[in-house]
Symmetry: C2
Subunit: 200 residues, 2 copies
C-alpha cells in the first residue's frame, strides 16, 4: 500500500511542479513564455492556485532562482569533497558540474535557467556574484590563480554554449575540451601556483 494514497492535495508536490514547469518553459521557449497562465496550465493548476503558493511573479522567479542555485551549490560541494587534488578545487568542481550537465535530461535543463536569469536581470546577476565571491573567499588559498579563473570562465562558456546548442556543446568535442582543461589544470599547477591576494 502507498504511504499517502488518500491525500488528494499535495501542496509540496504542486510547488515543485510549478517550479519545474517554469524552468522548462523558459528553457524551451525563452523568457517571454514565462507567464503565470502558462506555468499554471503546464503544472495542471489554475492561475489562482499558482498565486496561492507564490504571491506574484517575482516570488515564483525568486523561488526558482534559489532552488537552482541550491541545486548547483550542492553538486559543486559534492564534487569538491571527492577530489584529493587541492589545486583549484572549487573551480575544477565548478567546471565538472557544468560539464556533466546533460541537456537531454530535463532535470538538468533547469541549470540553463540560471544562465538566462543571470544575463537578463542585473538583480539575479548580483546575487549570483555574491555566491561566487563567497565561495571564492572560502577557497581563497586554492582558487585565486589565473588557472582557476580560466577554468570557471571556460565553464561559463561551456554553459552558455549548452544553452544555445553551440558548436562546443556536442559530446565528442566537449569531451576533448574537458580533457584538455584537466591537463591544463595539472600543468598549470606547476607553472604558476602562487596565490595572489587583493590586486590593486
Amino acid at each position: 500500500m502507498m504511504t499517502k494514497p488518500q491525500r488528494k492535495n499535495n501542496p509540496d508536490a504542486v510547488r515543485a511542479r510549478l517550479l519545474e514547469c517554469a524552468a522548462r518553459l523558459i528553457v524551451d521557449h525563452g523568457l517571454p513564455a514565462l507567464t503565470l497562465e502558462n506555468v499554471a496550465r503546464e503544472a495542471g493548476v489554475s492561475k489562482g492556485g499558482l498565486l496561492h503558493h507564490y504571491p506574484g511573479k517575482t516570488a515564483l522567479i525568486d523561488g526558482l532562482f534559489e532552488e537552482v542555485v541550491d541545486w548547483f551549490d550542492a553538486r559543486v560541494e559534492d564534487v569538491l569533497e571527492s577530489d584529493e587534488n587541492r589545486q583549484a578545487r572549487f573551480s575544477r568542481a565548478y567546471l565538472r558540474v557544468v560539464a556533466a550537465i546533460d541537456m537531454s535530461v530535463p532535470e538538468e535543463k533547469r541549470l540553463a535557467v540560471l544562465m538566462l536569469m543571470l544575463s537578463s536581470d542585473p538583480h539575479y546577476c548580483a546575487r549570483w556574484n555574491q555566491w561566487v565571491e563567497a565561495r571564492l573567499q572560502r577557497h581563497a588559498e586554492t582558487d585565486l590563480t589565473p588557472i582557476a579563473r580560466t577554468l570557471r570562465l571556460a565553464a561559463d562558456g561551456l554553459w552558455l554554449s549548452d544553452l544555445g546548442g553551440g558548436p562546443d556543446s556536442h559530446t565528442p568535442v566537449r569531451r576533448e575540451i574537458l580533457a584538455f582543461l584537466e591537463t591544463l589544470d595539472a600543468t598549470g599547477a606547476r607553472t604558476s601556483s602562487r596565490p595572489h591576494e587583493g590586486g590593486q
Copy 2:
C-alpha cells in the same frame, strides 16, 4: 557651410539612432524596457515613424542583431589580420576583441546586447551559432584544436562576466587572466596542435 543643411529628413540617421537607442535601452534597463514607444521616444520620433522604418518589433530587433554581429565581425577580422601567429588565429582574435571591450564606453556596450539576445532567444542563438560555425569552417586549419576552443569558451565567460559585473570583470584580474591565456596559447600550440575533423 555644412554639406546638407537644407535637408530636413534624414532617414538613415533616424534608423541608426533607432538602433542605438534600442541597444541602450536594453543594456541600461533590461529587455522588458525595449518597447516601441520607449525606443521611439528616445530616438525622438513617433511610434508611427518607427514602424515606418521597421515594420514590427521583430524587424527592429533583427536589425539590431545584424548590426551588432557585423560590428563584432569587423573587429574580429581586423584583429585577425594583424596577427602573424597562425595558431588559433580566429579564436585568439575572438578573445582579444571581447577582452578589449570597455563597458564604460557606450559604443561598446552594445555588444552586451548580443549576449542578452543570445541567451534569451533560441532563434538568435541559432543565428549566432551559424556565424561561429562559418568562421570555424573558414579557419578549420587553425581553430579546431582544444586550445582554440578553450580560448573562445573563456572569452564567452569573460563576456558574461562583463555583462553582470562578476569578479572577473575587474581590470587587474582580467589583465592577469588575459596574460595567462596568451601564454597558454603559446605553450598549447606545441602540446597538441593536430586538427581533428568530424568526430563521431
